[in-house]
Assembly symmetry: C2
């Protein structure tokens, strides 16, 4: 395949050549993901559909938005980015998601679920106002299709009076299998799909919203996809269409086809000696639930990756997967708590952003004992800007009634979960994916208390928040000690409330904070505020004011503000 | 009406007596709202439905959740809170929204749109797990029904396997008239409602989600409502039902019936000599749009109260009301900006919380020139905890690429809007409802520059952010000057970027910050961080770490941390 293969050339190929191209693309995707990690099974399912789209439409003149965006690899390979494909998800390399900065073929960046139809409508509305002549396409999986944003966008199609194509890429999976009535409806529509190719059906719900519905088709049948899209394209001049296709997640790679959840995301697996915090969550939550039948667990379509599978197996009636509906999940927890249950909502830090309003209004203003288990907090790495969990301390620390805990390792995480069981107010516990450090035995954790990890010489103290920050603080202290300054290191395991007793007793003149979070509004800023009227000097090590791109966790931590040598240098210079 | 009137007594009344009760309740609501302000027309429309609910169901054993909650006045009057009704929306008085802290008849606090169905499902799920025997009812208006949360909740009804009653209170209005296909669908269902009382219709969409649909009925016909609810109650044991009723917003008070948008919220109107920032927004945006045809304006169902009515009238094709869909509105703006348009999204501060994730991902990570016009920022007053706009500086200030401006008065607001027209990046401008102060002529505003408002004696400087803070800072400076300390006062009109040049040149040892926002993560915390390594003392005046209840704006500002005398005292003591 030529690196410069573009839409115009693609259009000259025969069906046979295009089929061969699909196999070639599939091979490239498998090799790349096996090397660099990434989203595998969803991309394998999208090959034929994407080739057909590039064959029928004229990108970048026509615009395509991939919902979430993790399924855009074929699109990238077909839009002049093949030579860069070996750098996929690496520092400075191609993103695993659509990026406007990367190519004019990417018109809108995605990363979180459900935004594609809204974005398509905005682009189409702009086209109409500017008198443009191009088509706008949103490609959305059945998992994202559960998100409330889709309903909001559908609901405004008619008032906006514009035309778009929405392709539902129905593979029956979110990351976990897709749940809910909308998915059931899609199943009804596709029940006898095998006999229904090329037949148009009625789909009352979608028609109500102003869409013509076209489906159900086998999205992995290239000839069929080309044919269907060719018929749809002219219709888009004066109407909006939903094209419903069934694709096979992991298509063409039998291991993926048989294990779609496990092969949704590949790579980035921590080394063998590490423990994932999610494993501890699953284990400990089961243990707590044995003792307390008020405990319920809620997830938004990520049972496995959050470690909840054992809980879902053991306590199915107390386990709820609402699909990719983070806001609804949060309110569900608040309401169950209002009735006396003890809900745990497990979620990735970046996706918790969707629940921000509900954390304030539903959970915290009612002071309800919901526990937020915030996984992938801090830099998450190769997924880049849209997936870093570096905002949570900033967006949680000003919310009244909320307690925020940050464990130093999985053992302390277990102790915090133990503590949570009897805690009668909102509690957030944030932690990264993998635990790679140990800092000694954990004693019982008391809310609002910190732990001294090492002694200093009375001049400098480091307040470090969370495993990665503590590890770097200790390393920096070792370097500084060699240069004559011995800094005390403290495990600042509660960001809220702060350990005021320890803060008041600190004798050191220089206070250093280290955290795996943005500088503004983070842990360090709370310490700066605490000491703002005192004579102490406070120095914050945290992430600077810019979006953090993709890369390895450690290299990004170095580059964005948490370099061990910088911390050590500051310790030495500060005295 | 007896103050102690409860459900048991209500059930002994005849239809005639109940009708008389409705008129009595209506009179009480009108008198109360005319005195204390509040939501008028929506409550007048809800009288018969609420009386019927109390007649048929057994509260507080049965649970009712009012979506948004502004329509709960009759419910409050029927649940032992009549004697407190004169204190409605006053400091320490009855809330204008449901409050668990206030009565066991309120099982779940609301305030923001679309949460009621999720909350009802959570409560029903808890009931099922605990073996409870009661009914759970969500009452939701057709405006809230546009919110994506409703779809998320509907979608999980079947997986949760529980039973609830959802009453759609369809009055054709959000605050603005309701828009969108779902509302069109409700209209189709109710098209010939006059002839359809007591007839059950099919509503395919709702049935797909697992609801039986019952409608359409005249919700202001008390006998009808009692009859319908009595028939529905036994069905709730083994199924979920949607009851669709039509009510007349403002029912029984002709001025309200004719002016439902204007009488949605009554009172709290600023005094005659004040100007509302929203009026300036409408005027200035029209002016800018005359010159620049890329400008578009977006609202989530609040055209009038945000001042956008003139724009909507003058530029209908460039004006979009998406209904109560704050997330969708935000993405629509980002996508239009990605195509070269210049979108302005106007929204109340408290409702902007819903767009938090989209501000980060869609607007700021793509660095798109969307302008957020954030009205009702700071303490908003009588609506209480769920409506205070005191979090926005905290949840915006750590987002990369975002510029945050806070005008000192409406004149500076106009200058900032002028500036926004050529500003090629995300911009947030936050302001309270009413402008009641003037601080001299406004010169051209340059991004990231502050303005010295008064000279000091070189010992204390006050950095004040926004009109109310500046007013208090100046008052405090006057008090302190009488006691011998003359503080400089600065209009810190950009929270991001800070005016680093001015900060670097400050000679004063004591820096005081004042802002109409939470302490943690707010403007002051940025200043504390800025000076954390210096010898300067920084003192922040901002709101303490608790939810701010209802009351007058000034009394709340005093009580939660911005008392002028406290600031003056600090100035004097600090030297």
């Amino acid at each position: 395949m030529s690196e410069d293969l573009n839409g115009a050339e693609l259009k000259t190929l025969s069906l046979k050549q295009l089929s061969a191209l699909c196999e070639e693309l599939r091979g490239k995707i498998i090799r790349s993901v096996m090397t660099n990690g990434g989203h595998l099974s969803s991309n394998l399912g999208m090959v034929e559909l994407t080739v057909a789209l590039h064959y029928v439409f004229d990108f970048p003149k026509d615009k395509i938005i991939f919902d979430v965006g993790h399924q855009c690899y074929t699109h990238k390979l077909l839009s002049g980015r093949e030579s860069g494909f070996a750098t996929l998800r690496k520092r400075g390399g191609l993103s695993g998601f659509p990026k406007r900065e990367e190519s004019e073929y990417d018109c809108y960046n995605t990363g979180h679920a459900g935004t594609s139809v809204s974005a398509a409508l905005g682009i189409a509305k702009a086209r109409d106002l500017e008198g443009g002549d191009y088509d706008v396409i949103a490609v959305i999986g059945d998992g994202s299709f559960n998100n409330g944003l889709v309903y909001e966008a559908f609901n405004s199609l008619k008032p906006l009076g514009t035309n778009i194509l929405v392709i539902i890429n129905d593979n029956g999976m979110s990351i976990s299998p897709t749940v809910g009535s909308m998915h059931e409806y899609l199943e009804v529509l596709s029940a006898d799909a095998e006999e229904q190719y090329h037949k148009t059906r009625r789909a009352g719900i979608f028609e109500r919203f102003g869409f013509e519905y076209d489906g159900v088709y086998d999205g992995n049948d290239l000839a069929c996809m080309i044919d269907v899209l060719q018929k749809i394209k002219p219709r888009l001049k004066d109407r909006s269409v939903i094209l419903h296709v069934l694709t096979k997640k992991g298509k063409g790679y039998s291991f993926c086809e048989e294990n779609p959840e496990a092969t949704h995301g590949i790579g980035g697996k921590p080394a063998a000696e590490t423990v994932e915090y999610s494993a501890i969550l699953g284990k400990k939550l089961c243990e707590l639930a044995e003792r307390n039948n008020k405990i319920v667990a809620v997830t938004a379509a990520m049972t496995g990756s959050l470690g909840l599978a054992p809980f879902f197996e053991k306590f199915p009636e107390r386990a709820v997967d609402v699909g990719i509906c983070e806001e609804h999940a949060t309110i569900l927890c608040a309401a169950m708590a209002a009735q006396g249950l003890k809900p745990y909502y497990a979620v990735y830090s970046t996706f918790l952003q969707r629940s921000f309003d509900e954390i304030i209004i539903d959970i915290c203003s009612q002071n309800l004992p919901v526990t937020l288990c915030i996984d992938r907090a801090g830099i998450s790495g190769a997924d880049g800007e849209t997936h870093q969990g570096v905002f949570d301390l900033s967006f949680l620390s000003f919310i009244p009634n909320l307690t925020i805990a940050v464990p130093r390792d999985t053992e302390e995480f277990a102790a915090m979960l133990e503590l949570s069981a009897d805690f009668g107010a909102p509690l957030a516990i944030r932690y990264p994916r993998a635990c790679t450090h140990r800092f000694g035995d954990v004693k019982k954790v008391v809310v609002g208390t910190w732990e001294k990890l090492s002694d200093g010489d009375g001049r400098v103290v480091i307040l470090a928040c969370g495993e990665r920050a503590i590890s770097r603080a200790l390393d920096a202290a070792v370097l500084a000690e060699k240069r004559g300054v011995k800094a005390k290191v403290v495990n600042a395991r509660f960001v809220k409330p702060l350990d005021k007793a320890m803060l008041a007793s600190l004798e050191e003149h220089t206070v250093i904070t280290v955290e795996d979070n943005m500088l503004a509004g983070g842990f360090g800023s709370l310490i700066s505020s605490y000491f703002s009227e005192s004579d102490k000097k406070v120095k914050n090590f945290a992430y600077e004011d810019r979006f953090i791109e993709q890369g390895g966790v450690d290299e990004l931590m170095d580059d964005y503000g948490l370099k061990v040598s910088d911390i050590a240098e500051y310790i030495v210079k500060s005295v």
